[in-house]
C-alpha cells in the first residue's frame, strides 16, 4: 500500500515523514521521528503509556492511525521538558517519588499536563478521575497523585508571581 506524506507539528516544530495510513501514531513517533518518550505498554488502548497530546486532547497514540493525525499538533514528553530544564511536573514526580520503574511516567506526565490546563486547581478526587486512563504497576498511584497536586500548586504560584 502506498505511503502518505504526513505533515505534523510535533513539539512546536513542523515535521514531515512518509507513513502508511494504517501505521499507528505511536509507531510513527517512535520509529520514524525517534521520539521514544511515549511508550508502548499494552498496545490495546488500556494502559495510557502511549499518551500524547493531539490538538489539545490527551490521546492513546496506539489507537490513532497515522492518517488521522495528518495536520495535527502533537506534544510528547520530549516537548514538555528535558534533562537540563525539567518541567514542573517532572520536578514534582522526582521530588515526591511519583515513579519507580518509570515506564508509565511519560504518559502520566503528558496526561497530567493536559489535565492541569483544563483544571488548574483539581481536588485529589478530580486528579484520580482525570488520570483514570493511565495505569501504573509500581507506585500504587498515591505518589503520582501527590506529585500532580504539588505541580498544580507550584504552577499556580508561578502564575501568580508573574502577574
Amino acid at each position: 500500500m502506498s505511503k502518505m506524506h504526513l505533515k505534523l507539528t510535533v513539539n512546536g516544530e513542523a515535521v514531515e515523514t512518509l507513513a502508511e495510513p494504517r501505521e499507528l501514531l505511536i509507531h510513527v513517533l517512535r520509529e520514524r521521528l525517534n521520539l521514544t518518550g511515549p511508550h508502548i505498554g499494552c498496545e490495546t488502548s488500556h494502559c495510557g503509556a502511549c499518551t500524547v497530546d493531539l490538538d489539545g486532547k490527551s490521546v492513546k497514540s496506539c489507537t490513532v492511525f497515522a492518517a488521522q493525525a495528518q495536520g495535527a499538533e502533537i506534544t510528547t514528553i520530549e516537548g514538555l521538558g528535558n534533562p537540563d530544564g525539567l518541567h514542573v511536573l517532572q520536578e514534582m514526580f522526582k521530588e515526591h517519588h511519583g515513579l519507580q520503574c518509570g515506564f508509565c511516567t511519560p504518559g502520566m506526565i503528558t496526561r497530567a499536563w493536559r489535565l492541569l490546563q483544563e483544571n488548574p486547581n483539581p481536588t485529589e478526587e478530580e486528579v484520580r478521575f482525570g488520570m483514570a486512563g493511565n495505569l501504573c504497576r509500581c507506585t500504587g498511584y498515591q505518589n503520582i497523585v501527590k506529585s500532580i497536586l504539588a505541580a498544580a500548586t507550584e504552577m499556580n504560584a508561578a502564575k501568580e508571581a508573574a502577574e
Binding site: M1, M4, E20, P21, R22, L24, E43, T44, S45, H46, G48, T51, K57, S58, V59, K60, C62, T63, V64, F65, A67, Q68, Q70, R111, L115, F129, G130, M131, A132, G133
Partner: protein, 284 residues
Amino acid sequence: MIPSSFEYHRPGDVAGAVALLSQLGEDARVIAGGHSLIPMMKLRMAALEHLVDLQDIDEMKGISVEAGRVRIGAMTTQHELLTSDVLAGAAPIVREASLQIADPQVRYMGTIGGNVANGDPGNDMPGLMQCLDATFTLQGPDGTRDVQARSFYEAAYMTDRADEEILTTISFDATDGGYAYEKQKRKIGDYATAAAAVLLTRDGGNCASASIAMTNLSDTPVWSEAAGAALVGTALDKAAVDAAVAAMLVDIDPTEDNRGPVAFKNHVAGVILDRAIARAWDRA
C-alpha cells in the same frame, strides 16, 4: 497489532462522505473517533479496503437546544458531551452516563455517533438513547430519513442503518423530572456488567411517567416498556419497584461470559435498576 492496509479518505462534508461510501461499496467504512473500530482492525476482526474519516465534517459537530429539542451532531465527542453546560441543563442524564464511559483519553476521541452506530451491546449510549426516545437522522444517496433509537438495533453489530448511510444527528426532547444512569463495571474503562438508564416524572406523590432501558444484558439494548409501566401511578413503594424489576428481568436475555454467569447478571441487573429508580425518584 498491525491492521491490514487500507486507503484513507477525508471528505469535507456529508454529501462527499455519502458519495464515497456509495462509490466504494461494502469494502468501505466510516471512521469517527476510531476507539471501537481501530481495536477491531488491530485484532483483524475487521479488515477494510477503504476508511472514510469524518473528522473534517463540521456540519456533524455541536450541541444545540431549541424549543425543548436537543440536537447533537454525530461527531460530537464524549468529552464534549461532558463539558457542555447547555446539555447538562437540558438532559443531565447524558452527562451522568458519559462520565461512566471508558476513561478520559477514550472520551476525547470517541463520538456519540460512533457509540450509537457501532451496535456493540456493551456500548452505553444506545440504551441511554432508547430511554430518551431519541431519533437518529441518517443520510444516504437517496436523502435523509429518521429512525427511532427504540427500533434501530436488530442484533449485535446489526442495525437498521444501510452500508452507504451516515448517521448525522441525534435528537431528543429535553428532560424534566428525575434521572439516573447506574452502571456496574469491574473497573474503570470496562463495559457494563449491567447498566440502567431511568427517567421519571412525578405528579404529587405518584410517578407520572417512567422510561427504563438496560445495557449489555442482551444482544441489543433493551427498552423495557413493562418495567416503566409497573411504576406509573404508584408511589414507588417496594411492591412497585419489585414489579418493575421483575418485568425488566423478563425482557432482558443475558448470556454467560467473562463478566459472569446468567444468574449473576440477572442479579446485578436487578440491583442496578433498583438503585437507578431510587436515585431518579430522589431527583424527581
